[in-house]
């Protein structure tokens, strides 16, 4: 029952969000701020996680495929495809759901409980549109860059394993990551991430916008936002993969 109510309220909110802004100028003023806060500020965590996962994946793959029958390029190839297909989009978005989702939900939730949203409404402004549209737009715009960046950094992480240890040679690795490269995988990953970016930002906005009560409830809203957008990411991952890779 609750899920039906949530979907209904969510749709109603989105219906209010996606209209032409009252004042275009105010939208363009908000957008760069959000691009910075949701996109640029996420770069450090994307870099750190990608570089480690790239390195670890290379080591693991190499250790688990110690078979003389397998070609030497297989480690690089497996690392690359895992990064491109799943890690840099799905796993990265699950992590960003934690960071960006809780950020959006708590910011909007706080504005709700301290009556700032009422104050916007009372001026005759569509608060959903004013507050949420720049956030969704900014995050969806930034996502492809974050994903492609994560791919590049992840691959670099694998290379560093070759450069600084004797687990794998850089020559083998470089051959592997170029072998049978399918550009469509990058496209698929970017499309997926756009869907995830929309889910993370809109679901978090929904929970924040409908928060009621006190500081504790803002915490709850942000937990709900992270948990539910993570579940939705996994579900939509299945859906989009079925559509695009089958």
């Amino acid at each position: 029952m609750n899920i039906v109510k949530d979907i209904g309220l969510y749709s109603l909110l989105m219906y209010r969000v996606f209209v032409k802004p009252d004042r275009g100028r105010m939208f363009w003023k908000q957008l760069p701020k959000e691009l910075e806060k949701l996109g640029l500020a996420s770069l450090p965590i994307v870099i750190i996680i990608s570089i480690f996962i790239g390195a670890i994946m290379t080591i693991q793959t190499k250790l688990n495929t110690e078979n003389p029958l397998l070609p030497t390029y297989s480690t690089g190839l497996v690392t690359r495809d895992t990064l491109l297909l799943e890690f840099s989009s799905t796993i990265m978005c699950l992590i960003l759901a934690g960071k960006v989702g809780s950020n959006i939900a708590s910011e909007i939730g706080t504005m709700r409980i301290t009556e700032q949203i009422d104050a916007i409404e009372i001026m005759g402004i569509n608060s959903a549109n004013y507050l949420i549209l720049p956030k969704i737009t900014a995050f969806v715009l930034m996502m492809p860059f974050l994903v492609i960046f994560s791919m590049a950094i992840g691959l670099t992480g694998g290379y560093l394993v070759g450069a600084f240890s004797d687990i794998i040679t850089t020559a083998d690795y470089l051959l592997g990551i170029q072998y049978a490269f399918i550009p469509y995988y990058v496209f698929y990953s970017v499309v997926k991430s756009l869907v995830f970016a929309f889910l993370i930002s809109s679901v978090a906005a929904y929970y924040g916008y409908n928060a009621y009560g006190g500081a504790l409830d803002v915490g709850k809203a942000s937990t709900n936002a992270v948990v539910n957008s993570s579940i939705l990411i996994l579900f939509f991952n299945l859906l989009v993969t079925n559509l695009m890779l089958n």
Binding site: D22, R23, R25, M26, T110, M111, T114, E115, Q116, D118, A119, E121, I122, M123, G124, I125, N126
Partner: protein, 211 residues
């Protein structure tokens, strides 16, 4: 003139407003008094459509708010200023930006004119230049209330709603704010709907609710 008749409002089965009727006349300070939790805030928010009422009429010069479409409600709200119980200043903006916000949103004047208007309003509530670039978290509760008043009057509202303009303030500051609202009402000839927990001799009309 705002005419409220037979207003009912409940939250999840809990009846908060029961058959409220009142008339708020133009150019007068009208006051609502009632115990804590009696529904003063709910009544005010219902009158401006922040809460959807269960039944009853809210007529702004014979335009009934519950019947109005969202677009018309928004237009009506541009004639309204409201001071919230907790000030509700935007905490990501400075004092100046808070007062500039409604102007930037709706007025078509130049930036300089807007700044002058904002300065005028801040000056009106006795806030000096020193505080313009501070954030709401960096100023005192009384100053926050005064900034909120300045923001509420920035667009020259026809109706000014004040929800406990002087709760939590010391007697001296609260007297200053009383005086301020009284003066502003006369200066701007606005309809003023004040939410007070205690009576003050400045207010001529008293509406009692729920008790």
């Amino acid at each position: 003139m705002i005419e409220v008749s037979h207003l009912f409002k409940s939250f999840d089965g809990e009846q908060v407003l029961k058959d409220i009727s009142a008339v708020f006349e133009t150019g007068k300070c009208n006051m609502i008094i009632g115990q804590s939790g009696s529904g003063k805030t709910v009544l005010m928010k219902s009158i401006i459509g922040l809460h959807r009422v269960d039944s009853g009429k809210i007529e702004y010069d014979s335009r009934n708010l519950p019947d109005m479409r969202m677009r018309d409600i928004r237009r009506l709200r541009r004639e309204v200023g409201m001071l919230f119980q907790g000030s509700a200043l935007f905490d990501s903006m400075t004092v100046m930006e808070n007062v500039m916000y409604p102007l930037e949103m709706f007025s078509s004047s130049t930036r300089l004119e807007m700044e002058n208007r904002a300065k005028f309003c801040l000056d009106r509530v006795n806030l000096n230049e020193h505080s313009y670039h501070l954030f709401p978290s960096e100023i005192s509760g009384g100053m926050q209330k005064r900034v909120a008043i300045a923001r509420a009057i920035a667009l020259n509202p026809k109706y000014l709603f004040c929800d406990e303009p002087n709760s939590g303030l010391d007697p001296k500051t609260s007297l200053i704010i009383d005086q301020l609202i009284y003066e502003i009402t006369h200066e701007f000839n606005i309809k003023d709907l004040n939410d007070f927990v205690f009576a003050s001799e400045l207010y001529k009309q008293v509406k009692k609710i729920n008790q």
